[in-house]
Symmetry: C2
Subunit: 255 residues, 2 copies
């Protein structure tokens, strides 16, 4: 796809993902949302709860991509060091934000319930704008091109949904998916020739194993409908020639 | 945990993970396996099917960590560029490997079925040793400290299981998990004080949302059993003092 698309990177912060204790599902959610907006997610990193690691990743990646999204580490406990680390990356203070504090007082029903741990969640790097948390009040924030989101999936999703309308992406990235039950090695060479003819499109070949058999999904992505139509027809013809039955699945398109 | 532990990084190669089309489950599997071996997985990256991105990531990360594991991109199609990219990263040729070829001929039941796509899966960077694929024959490989595994989970798991016994890790990393239904913000400050007393342990606080309510899991990891016992007792006492009921879950330990 063309360089007119904005690019993005996700930074998943949390030891629990690296130890396999927690199965991340945030990346796939963010990836789909960005695709809808015409933003190309080119990289994701999972890093540990280590300040230097967070600072280094944020500073490297915010310079490299148009958008950066982080998940995790913005709760009330000692291992929630994302806000401090982001502040350090930007060289700004991380202090109690009046608006964030007000939201937490309201959520916890009174000043008297705003203990030290909860107040910690009101600390926002200087110059950042808040990202709403309609689930549990403690906000995320945006500083520069870095969007700092929660790690708990339902909270992260609500935050992502609230910021998505403001992301400037690029031309709609459309996709076509063709399913079949044919070994990808049967059609690999000819599919490669088709892919080589259409360098502006991404053509992915994804075999899978399910209920005792292998299936294959071919996914075509791009912005040019005529090219998508041509490749879809060529791949369906290729599958049929080798004795398979192509099934074109519903088109997905970014708005 | 101490610097005596070997360190590792996972590189997940595939556009399909970044677009959200495919939910990665390989990272969690590898993370658990490494923990069992006393290897600390410190980072994971998800990158696109772009040669320069693969070469750059492999060369950066193999210098930084003791072990690197890649998943994905070793199939027969045009978008399977991992072996070529790894060969480029190491500055070696990527040619048909006689042993890999023999295995594929056997799996596909004869020379006459070894078409161009299938033969592509026998191309292995010069100097690499093969990693067995008991599921579908096409091998992974190890070159230097880089282990190149399949992307399809059942194949990846079989490969990981076959190499795990040969990984040299470090002292067994044990963990204790304490569950309760208490807001983490209630106990955050005191838990932080306990964590500060035991800097050699990792103490993670993981709230979750399930069937209409929030729960909390506290995970303690380390190598020193006496310290683990002390922290477990201190956290249970903390939870009880705040009206919660701690439930200590089964201990996991690396062998």
């Amino acid at each position: 796809m063309s360089p007119v698309h904005k690019t993005a990177c996700v930074i998943i912060i949390g030891n629990e993902i690296l130890t396999g204790r927690t199965q991340d599902i945030n990346l796939a959610y963010i990836g789909k949302k960005l695709l809808e907006k015409g933003v190309r997610l080119l990289e994701a990193r999972v890093i540990a709860d280590i300040e230097e690691a967070i600072v280094a990743a944020v500073n490297e990646l915010r310079a490299k991509y148009d958008y950066v999204f982080t998940t995790g580490g913005i709760g009330p406990t000692h291992d929630d060091i994302t806000a401090d680390s982001i502040a350090k990356a930007f060289g700004v203070a991380n202090e109690v934000n009046a608006l964030a504090r007000t939201r937490l007082v309201s959520y916890y029903k009174g000043e008297e319930h705003l203990n030290e741990g909860r107040l910690r969640m009101a600390r926002i790097p200087e110059g950042a704008s808040l990202i709403d948390n309609p689930v549990s009040a403690a906000p995320g924030f945006k500083i520069g091109n870095v969007h700092v989101l929660a790690g708990i999936p339902n909270v992260m999703q609500a935050m992502m949904d609230s910021i998505a309308p403001n992301l400037q992406g690029g031309p709609a990235i459309k996709s076509r998916t063709i399913g079949c039950f044919i070994g990808e090695s049967i059609i690999a060479r000819e599919m490669g020739e088709i892919a080589a003819q259409f360098p502006e499109l991404d053509i992915g070949s994804y075999p899978y194993f399910r209920s005792g058999g292998y299936g294959l999904s071919l996914v075509i992505r791009g912005t040019n409908t005529a090219q998508l139509d041509a490749v879809q027809a060529a791949l369906c013809s290729l599958i049929t020639r080798h004795g398979g039955e192509p099934v074109v699945q519903a088109e997905e398109a970014s708005p």
